[in-house]
């Protein structure tokens, strides 16, 4: 920990410190007011309590006044405490399949990283395919995307960052000034962001969304169905991303031999491929095939956890090795979010909210779908993508029911745009990691990111309108 001294005037520091207790006191007052105000017509007492809890959690999530996971735990406490759901029902919801799928995915990704397989694949691809400045950028971009198909985009960004940073240093690129330096880190960040929405594995938000869908409607989305629906969007965005990056920051280097020296040295230190890398690679491959072909029969979480057991049976990892890769905060957060979503739905609060707030938006499914996806993209730039899902999805599913939109399609409208955060470092860790290199400024990111956000929204809605009907999907039930 580095010490930092706040040299602002003391009165200002005290005033800012006082804001926190004032904030929590105001939140308490709001909560009590929402609980005890006369119930509006059509809203049950449980629904009113669910809305009060939701409002408090909503404010805590967007303000980040508490860690996201702690807000979720708070929701878990409040829901049974105020009788919205029974204790038994509340805690049982934490055992949702999505939570265990996320846990399994974390452990599998941890095993891949711990074995060194992911680093080897990354280095080899960059070295083999990055022969020219343009191809090196492309290989980093596509590699980041491809790896994010299989593991958390956050983990991919963290894993590739030191390699890309070494390349930029090796090429003597000047931070903040070099276009090529910017391109290296944009390709890392945007590759992760775009790749992260391609499958269930790029982030825990899609499993979370499916968990909420399942709890509220009993429906689900299969691994393969999701990929078929989203993959063309990902391909289009990869093209768009590369074009926008190189348009804003034209390549300004001609020689990247030094980058290959860096990669060559790194590859040498890895030595030959180990049994553990092979074995973990095979387990991962089998797992993905099982998700695609057997997901419906055995469940995604069941397959993920079986693969985890296999890793330990084959002694490919020890608990100590993968413990650090398991983000328990995310798991707690998602468990709590699913409970809150279910509370809103089962208490009738979600449908009441839809009728009274969103009911007047439009009767057109296309317009509602477009507006919700736009709202999601806008919100995810400023807040956690998981929080966006928790806040919007239960209400949106209620709206879907009212407009006869397929709730699964509505889940896509929230889950996919929630991952498309291009504009700010706080939008997603991949962006934050890229900005931390000092090659990209926040202004650079916002400039290119805004165009990407608009393009993503257009591409997503065009795909929903014209591509999904071709594969038997549609807005309507």
């Amino acid at each position: 920990m580095t010490v930092e001294i706040d040299t602002r005037p003391l009165w200002l520091i005290i005033a800012l410190r006082a804001l926190r207790p004032i904030f929590f006191a105001a939140l308490l007052v709001l909560f009590i007011a929402l609980l005890y105000m006369p119930a509006p017509a059509g809203l049950s007492p449980e629904g009113q309590k669910a809305i009060a809890i939701f409002a408090v959690c909503f404010i805590l999530w967007i303000s980040n006044a508490l860690p996201l996971a702690i807000t979720s735990l708070f929701a878990i406490v409040l829901v049974p405490l105020f009788g919205v759901l029974s204790k038994r029902e509340t805690y049982a919801l934490f055992g949702n399949e999505a939570v265990f799928f996320i846990l399994g995915a974390f452990i599998l990704a941890g095993a891949v990283m711990h074995s060194g397989l992911s680093t080897r694949v990354a280095l080899t691809i960059m070295d083999r395919f990055g022969a020219s400045p343009k191809r090196l950028i492309l290989s980093i971009f596509l590699l980041a995307a491809a790896l994010s198909f299989l593991m958390s985009e956050h983990a991919v960004a963290a894993m590739l960052f030191p390699i890309v940073f070494e390349i930029s240093k090796g090429l003597n690129l000047k931070p903040g000034a070099s276009n090529y330096g910017k391109l290296l880190f944009f390709s890392l960040a945007w590759g992760c962001v775009i790749g992260g929405v391609a499958t269930f594995l790029g982030g825990a938000r899609v499993p979370l969304a499916i968990g909420i869908l399942k709890e509220t409607t009993g429906k689900t989305i299969e691994f393969s169905d999701y990929i078929i629906a989203v993959f063309p969007i990902v391909i289009a965005l990869l093209f768009a991303g590369y074009f926008i990056m190189t348009y804003f920051f034209p390549i300004d280097v001609t020689d990247i031999d030094k980058a290959h020296n860096v990669l060559g040295k790194r590859i040498k230190t890895l030595g030959k491929i180990t049994y553990m890398e092979y074995a973990v690679g095979v387990v991962m491959l089998v797992t993905i095939l099982a998700w695609v072909f057997l997901g419906k029969r055995f469940g995604l979480a069941g397959i993920a956890l079986s693969s985890v057991v296999a890793l330990f049976v084959l002694r490919l990892v020890r608990w100590k090795d993968i413990e650090e890769y398991v983000n328990w905060g995310i798991i707690l957060m998602y468990g709590g979010a699913i409970i809150l979503g279910a509370a809103l739905d089962k208490s009738g609060a979600a449908s009441w909210l839809v009728n009274s707030i969103m009911g007047g938006w439009s009767d057109s499914p296309v317009v509602v779908f477009a507006l919700l996806s736009l709202l999601t993209i806008a919100l995810t730039e400023a807040m956690s993508n998981a929080a966006v899902i928790v806040i919007l999805l239960p209400v949106s599913i209620g709206l879907a029911d009212k407009l006869s939109i397929d709730p699964a399609a509505m889940t896509y409208a929230i889950a996919v745009p929630a991952g498309l955060a291009f504009m700010f470092p706080m939008s997603t860790p991949a962006n934050a990691i890229a900005v931390s290199s000092n090659y990209i400024s926040v202004r650079d990111m916002a400039k290119g990111g805004f165009i990407m956000c608009v393009l993503s929204w257009l591409v997503f809605n065009l795909a929903a309108a014209f591509y999904w009907p071709l594969i038997g999907m549609g807005y309507l039930k």
């Binding site: 930092e4 001294i5 998981a386």
Partner: protein, 400 residues
């Protein structure tokens, strides 16, 4: 011409006494001084002074201390003023549990409890020690001469039990450590802060990087001193060759400027020794230091026999305008005067009130309050609260 008397003004009397010393004839007072180079005497107006009494030059001093019944008085031959002897702290007679005498570890100087945990100063090893330095520091820096944290904490405990809330003043000689000695002092400072509710001051060397100044404040120092000693650039190089070559005058001034932004007003100080450079140069130093929010502390150069530096000390008549200038500069710049106070070895700005016309002769209510036990506790509380508000650690970014 009539001989000038300083007896009627405690501030000028303190300056003159510190410059010329005191003759002691009374065997009881001699015993009281216990062979120390100076004796702590409380002058009128609760002005405490450490007055030389054993150096050769004191034999020519016009001042002598006389017993008047149960009391004492200082006379200059033309008149006399009643004073009292500052009792020798009782804890000096005690020892730590490892057998080290408390008086070896800590000395009381007015409101300060001065502790130098290690006597090492590498200026001596490099033969670039300050020319006026009386050699308080050990040249070898043997490890067995370093007091342990436990011994120091025990000593501070004994002193606090007797004296109430002295300001614990930790000092260190030069080392090549980039922290300016703070890495060495850290465990002492933190242990003292952990055990006792007391204010602390640190006399160290300017660190290489300013982040060490942040660290110094964060680890619990309530006051910092980086003593430039001489403001004149050329004299600084000659008199303080180690400071000039191994640290540099610019670094001293930069570090002081930065520290004044981090520490509370009036708690960052620097010594400017009066008498080792022309008074005009000292005044320039005062102006510069007060301009960056630093309190200049002006010790008076007293020649010692064991050093080769042959500079005749200035006279009181010449020195007094320098002190007046100090008071006016500190007041003009609005620097808090309550930290640097009640020091026996130097004349502090608070004591100079009586010297400057229109400054108000009386000690204010605030001055009196901060001198009391309650005032010291309040100062500690305010200082601790300020640190809690100002210091923050930087953490890694949380995930999304």
């Amino acid at each position: 011409m009539k001989k000038k008397s300083y007896l009627d003004n405690p501030a000028t009397l303190k300056i003159d006494l510190m410059l010329r010393g005191l003759r002691i004839a009374d065997p009881l007072v001699k015993a009281w001084a216990c062979g120390a180079t100076g004796i702590d005497i409380m002058l009128p107006g609760r002005t405490i002074a450490n007055i030389p009494c054993s150096e050769g030059f004191t034999a020519a001093s016009p001042y002598a201390i006389r017993k008047r019944g149960e009391r004492y008085a200082i006379t200059d031959g033309t008149g006399e003023v009643e004073v009292s002897l500052v009792p020798r702290p009782k804890f000096y007679d005690g020892k730590t549990s490892t057998g080290v005498s408390f008086s070896k570890i800590a000395q009381v100087h007015g409101s300060l409890l001065v502790i130098t945990p290690s006597p090492a100063c590498e200026f001596f090893n490099a033969k670039v020690e300050c020319r006026y330095c009386a050699g308080n520091f050990d040249r070898t820096g043997k490890e067995d001469a370093v007091y342990t944290v436990e011994d120091v904490v025990e000593t501070v405990g004994a002193a606090i039990a007797e004296l109430g809330s002295p300001v614990v003043y930790l000092s260190i000689g030069f080392s090549r450590d980039p922290s300016g000695g703070m890495e060495f002092l850290r465990p002492y400072l933190q242990a003292i802060k952990r055990h006792y509710n007391c204010l602390t001051a640190v006399e160290a060397l300017p660190p290489k990087d300013n982040h060490w100044i942040d660290e110094t404040y964060a680890m619990g120092a309530d006051s910092a001193l980086y003593n430039v000693e001489i403001y004149d650039e050329e004299l600084f190089k000659i008199i303080c060759p180690g400071r000039a070559t191994l640290i540099g005058r610019k670094r001293y001034l930069d570090a002081l400027e930065y520290a004044a932004k981090i520490f509370p007003s009036g708690t960052v100080s620097s010594h400017l020794i009066v008498g080792l450079e022309p008074p005009g140069s000292t005044c320039q130093g005062i102006d510069f230091l007060t301009g960056i929010g630093v309190v200049p502390v002006l010790p008076i150069y007293r020649p010692t026999t064991n050093k080769a530096l042959r500079i005749d000390p200035l006279t009181t008549e010449i020195i007094i305008p320098v002190y007046k200038h100090l008071y006016k500069a500190v007041k003009t710049k609005g620097i808090n005067l309550n930290w640097v106070r009640d020091l026996s070895m130097v004349t502090t700005p608070v004591e100079l009130k009586g010297l400057v016309e229109g400054a108000g002769k009386n000690v204010s209510l605030v001055d009196t309050f901060y001198g009391t036990r309650l005032g010291k506790k309040a100062a500690w509380g305010m200082s601790t609260l300020r640190r809690k508000l100002r210091v923050k650690g930087t953490h890694g970014q949380s995930g999304h």
